[in-house]
């Protein structure tokens, strides 16, 4: 916890500026705040701790090179980091080839469940994440499966149709309805938001 408290003195906007100026302290601050988010999403997609660690490194390397053109006023850093994490994790999943996609094996490395995500991150996104998690588990099974295969496994609509033995039109309707419900839950929970 001491790590979060110390680099927590640097807010997201300042951290991005520092990284853009190639100041390692900015990267430390972003790592302390978002490494759990990045690693957790990579682990969900890849179900392998070593691969999730590689993806975490790739994402922060990308942040290091791209922070200069990221404008914190136009999108929260958490969202940007999440998009990067998903992209790099799906890249790696696709590189493994189709055979390994269905594997849901337990990781060889021990996980340390995180009982206390950083304060900054809670403030920024935890409400929406909670809403999405609850709404996802409340979806009918076939909608939830379709959304999960698209978002977490990067399957196309045609691949989802094949995987779930459902007509393409049905798959589209399931994803559309499922994501609409998630949006309703996420925007309701977020409430009126202050634009920075």
């Amino acid at each position: 916890m001491s790590l979060e408290r110390a680099t927590g003195a640097i807010d997201d906007r300042d951290a991005i500026r520092r990284v853009a100026a190639q100041d390692g302290l900015g990267l430390e601050a972003l790592y302390d705040r978002y490494s759990t988010v990045v690693y957790s999403l990579a682990l969900r997609v890849l179900r392998d701790a070593a691969d999730a660690e590689d993806v975490t490194q790739e994402v922060f390397a990308q942040i290091w090179t791209q922070a200069g053109r990221f404008d914190p006023s136009r999108g929260v850093v958490a969202a940007w980091v999440t998009v990067l994490a998903r992209s790099r994790a799906l890249d790696r999943l696709r590189r493994r080839g189709p055979a390994s996609r269905t594997v849901g094996g337990e990781s060889a490395l021990p996980h340390i469940p995180d009982p206390s995500p950083s304060v900054e991150w809670i403030a920024a996104t935890a409400e929406q994440a909670d809403a999405a998690r609850e709404a996802l588990s409340a979806l009918p099974d076939e909608q939830r499966t379709a959304v999960e295969l698209a978002y977490y496994e990067g399957l196309t609509q045609a691949e989802i149709a094949t995987r779930t033995s459902a007509p393409l039109g049905t798959v589209k309707t399931r994803i559309r309805t499922g994501v609409q419900r998630l949006r309703d839950a996420v925007t309701r929970r977020a409430g009126p938001r202050n634009e920075a």
Partner: protein, 305 residues
């Protein structure tokens, strides 16, 4: 596309489960419709919330130092610095360098827009990849401007790169590695009118002694050499290949392992390949070289960022 059709397309778009035709129509619609852009932002927030909705697992503590050192090239303190240090560290060149490369930023932004309009960008993810590539060139432009002595010569090169990347007939091709370079990923920006290929690769293992990698464009059934290269210590290379012989749209790109100095036509195993470069990036496919299939070595984890 009508507003209703756009709203129907958004939920599939934000989880990358739409088709290319719908996506193109949706992007064209939201470009001119503020209300639908706002609706799309809500869906994007939703998709991001999905990414953050997974069980939160803290990575192993060792990963912190490994990652930070690998990226910044200098040891990071195992313990966080005291708060007073944080305030003492002031990035000196930050304000000075800001603004001077604004024209380059604008050019790069226009480039991303041009690529989008041309329909080459197929998904949010691929758009992010294009932006990543642009960001790398931008960073190099910024570096060059900081270094006054190198700037003059470097800028000529960067101007050439931007000319290639803003060519009307630009093709974006993704290449994937095959064993023993299975983790390698490359992007090529090909312009026939500029007779040039802008090529970036990462996670490519070092070549064996006295060997180099050679980039090829296959056009008219003939391989055309686009030069040789050796990746840096982190497995990366970025180059602009001037290819006067590139007079028609290539049917494929490939990277092979060849003797030092290169060869007139490929003799070695193909380690990176994309077939049928086209406006559809996702058509790029992995090409598996039979000779390599028996290679026991796995280099998947040798190239670290």
């Amino acid at each position: 596309m009508t507003h209703d059709e756009a709203r129907d397309a958004m939920p599939l778009f934000v989880v990358d489960a739409d088709d290319a035709e719908t996506r193109t129509a949706l992007l064209a619609h939201v470009a001119g419709c503020e209300a639908c852009r706002e609706a799309l932002r809500e869906y994007e927030t939703t998709a991001d919330a999905l990414g953050q909705a997974v069980p939160q697992v803290r990575p192993r503590p060792e990963l912190r130092a490994r990652t930070l050192e690998a990226i910044t090239g200098s040891p990071s303190p195992a313990q966080a610095r005291p708060a007073s240090d944080i305030h003492a560290v002031e990035p000196a060149s930050r304000e000075a360098s800001r603004g001077r490369w604004a024209p380059w930023l604008a050019a790069a932004a226009a480039l991303v827009a041009a690529v989008s309009v041309a329909g080459l960008v197929q998904t949010r993810q691929e758009l992010a990849d294009v932006r990543a590539t642009v960001a790398i060139w931008q960073a190099r432009v910024a570096d060059a401007e900081r270094n006054a002595q190198a700037a003059q010569t470097s800028l000529v090169g960067y101007q050439r790169q931007l000319r290639v990347m803003t060519a009307d007939d630009l093709l974006l091709v993704s290449l994937s590695g095959v064993p023993p370079a299975a983790s390698a990923q490359a992007k090529a920006f090909v312009s026939r009118s500029q007779n040039a290929i802008l090529f970036t690769v990462r996670d490519l293992p070092p070549p064996p002694a006295a060997r180099v990698y050679q980039l090829w464009a296959i056009a008219g059934g003939q391989p055309i050499s686009a030069g040789t290269f050796v990746p840096d210590a982190s497995g990366r290379t970025q180059l602009v290949a001037e290819v006067p012989a590139l007079t028609e749209r290539p049917a494929a790109l490939a990277v092979t392992l060849e003797p030092e100095g290169g060869v007139p036509s490929p003799t070695g195993p193909s380690l990176l390949r994309a077939r049928r470069p086209s406006s559809h990036c996702d058509e790029a496919s992995v090409w598996y070289h039979r000779e390599m299939s028996s290679t026991p070595q796995s280099s998947r984890r040798t190239a670290r960022v």
